[in-house]
Amino acid sequence: MEATLQILNQLEGSGLITRYAIGGAMAAFFYSEAVLTEDLDAFVLLAQPTGAIVTLTPLYDFLKQRGATEEREHLWLAGTLLQVIPAYDVLTEEAVGEAVPRTVGETCTRVMRVEHLLAIALRTGRGKDHARIALLLQEADVDPVRLADILQRHGLSEKWNRHNLPTG
């Protein structure tokens, strides 16, 4: 895991991406107690503007040069199943941009804020996302003002309220 993050930091340093942040279940792991997940979702901000035609091939090539191999839909990199996901809308771009620094072992990385994880899970809306929302609301230290602001700006307040979820 730590070695994987070090290589992701190298990827960011290479300029192939402008920034990355851990998202998905592994990010929830930093805020809640028990989460089982198979892979590490690394959301990346690509250098190209949103809406441009892009490819992840240069990123994959960079990671393969550092030992990554393809396993099912993932990359197997330094002992971790890795999924590189381009930030694909304004919400995920903001989540990567405002991700907070964390230290894993002795390696610095970034993790999406819990309020963004909640908003992304709400927007995605699968059963497992609702379970993640419930878990985070129970166990994480959520900033209700920040959450309400994110939900409002991304048009998710009504959906949040429809599920009768608390913001604070």
Partner: protein, 66 residues
């Protein structure tokens, strides 16, 4: 594959969902094996983040449901 970031992400999520459906049909022995592997990885992250490990047999009591 080339496409917009949204198209690439949707393709990734489609493949992840398909992989989960395949995993759901695996024999229970294989599922348990994957569970143990996932738990080992999860505990590695917990240890690196300075938190105590959780044992597989402690999961039912530690996983809260809505």
């Amino acid at each position: 594959m080339k496409g917009t970031a949204l198209q690439l992400a949707e393709d990734i999520f489609r493949r992840k969902d398909a992989s989960r459906r395949l995993a759901a049909a695996l024999p229970i022995e294989e599922k348990l094996g994957r569970l143990v592997v996932m738990q080992v990885r999860a505990n590695e992250v917990r240890r690196l983040a300075g938190r105590p490990a959780i044992r597989v047999w402690e999961l039912p009591s530690s996983m809260r449901r809505p």
